[in-house]
């Protein structure tokens, strides 16, 4: 995987103008994700209504890979339930593990991030937004019953 695939247009575009990059009013779940080593520091905020993610946003400062991954993830989250996020996270990790694996249609444009697999030092950047979102979901899970069926 070359540098051009890592920094392909779609990723650069998400980095330049990240979607859902703001503070979320009325968030029910949130977590801060930090990578002390490289300086990434993001806040993921989610609003769950009746077990489904209605809205997702992130803010903070991070490298292009983390920013693009967060931007795409925030785009993808609305309408999903927490279990679906966990299942998709497994698939996303597989994608970064094995560049030869088939595209995962469910993950949409996030398939583009698979180029990160060729840059082992950067895999954790692509994963940070996912880990943060999941931490947020798990932390204040409590009564927020899931509506997965």
């Amino acid at each position: 995987m070359g540098l051009d695939q890592l920094y392909q247009q779609v990723i650069l575009d998400h980095n330049r103008s990240p979607r859902h990059y703001r503070r979320l009013e009325g968030a029910t779940h949130s977590a801060r994700g930090r990578d002390a080593l490289c300086g990434d520091d993001i806040l993921v905020e989610l609003r769950l209504v009746e077990g489904l993610i209605e809205e997702a946003a992130f803010s903070g400062e991070a490298c292009a890979i983390t920013t693009a991954s967060a931007s795409m993830l925030m785009d993808w989250l609305p309408g999903r339930c927490p279990e679906a996020v966990l299942t998709a996270y497994e698939k996303f990790r597989d994608l970064l593990d094995d560049p030869a694996s088939a595209d995962c249609p469910e993950l949409g444009p996030m398939n583009g991030l698979r180029a990160v697999s060729g840059f082992p030092a950067r895999v954790r950047n692509a994963l940070l937004p996912w880990r943060t979102a999941i931490e947020g979901l798990q932390r204040a899970r409590g009564p927020a019953e899931s509506r997965c069926d």
Binding site: Y7, L37, C38, G39, C63, A64, I65, R122
Partner: protein, 415 residues
Amino acid sequence: METVESKVKDQLDVFALREQFPVLAREVHGKPLVYFDNAATAQRPLKVIEAMDDFYRRYNANVHRGVHQLSVEASEQFELARDSVRRLLNANSVREVVFTRGTTEAVNLVAQAYLRPRLKSGDEILITHMEHHSNIVPWQLLCEQTGAVLKVAPINKQGELLVDELASMINERTKLIGMVHVSNALGTINPVEEVCRIAGKHDVPVLVDGAQATPHMAVDVQALGCDFYCVSAHKMYGPTGIGALWAKESVLEEMPPWQGGGEMITRVSFDGTTYNDLPHKFEAGTPNISGAIGFGKAVEFLEETGYEGIVWQEERLLDYATEKMQAIEGLTIIGTAQHKGPVVSFTLEGAHPNDIGTIVDHYGVAIRTGHHCAMPVMQFFDVPATARVSFAPYNLRNEIDIFLEALDKARNMLA
């Protein structure tokens, strides 16, 4: 034609020097390696590599234990290495040189074996705002254990220590000053001698983290007037996992042992144990023998190369890089001290250090990105991270050009 490098030859034969470092001949992603991460760890010359190889091939044995020939040879080389480190620091005696795993362990040794028994609740340990985590966390642990308080002397926007402020923070509760000689994140060379003079008036001992100093400048612990000096071999062309603590014999004599085990004893019974002489009292267990031998050879390498030529070449590299980088729009150099080692930490508008690191690596250029184990420095300059190039005398000015081209590509790519 007179080239940049032929001028360099007058002072230091940089190409001959490069021949001594086999790794510099390799390629990375199909491009010649440009190694600008010397402050994280320098590369190793053949002299070091071959001496360690020779130990394992010809005379691998434990030290100070056997009567057999291999053990005699290993002990001899191990102690010769200690004498090399003594020369490096201009210490009075080999009894003052304790081998450790590195600077970090040396600081921890002083914290626990020297300071802890002397510390009571409310006492103060004074450090500077530009310390590496290795000269912060051991003191924080000690404060937690004893109720002592960690005080931090401020720096200015250039990344220079405010010596007057530091002086005004010394009081009767101050029990030790810990300071870095050369900052790894900023490059700042601190006025250690001046601080030691001030501290001396108050009878406060000074510990110096010299990890980034010995690769670049002659260090004389007696002239500096410090009480403890800590070094790591791998920053100065030696192996990882070995370093040294220097302290005056009288101070080391008074200190209790730090870790217990073999090597540090003369007699053990279940009624009690007699500790070994200096410096072995502080070297429990089988030491890093090959590491120490490599460390000794790294000192010899520095002696043969000569600090004069090293400084000359490094200053040229630093000046050249600083001048070129200052001219780049949106680039901010973090750390602009008047007295500076060959380190340029920077941020570039619109490009996160991490992405810069990945992209320049693609062009064969190895740089460091992140917090450089100095998070308080990052907080002071209000940046999450920086990118850093750090030079060694085997680097070339045209390598800086290669780096700048790669940096330009990174900027264009991310813009």
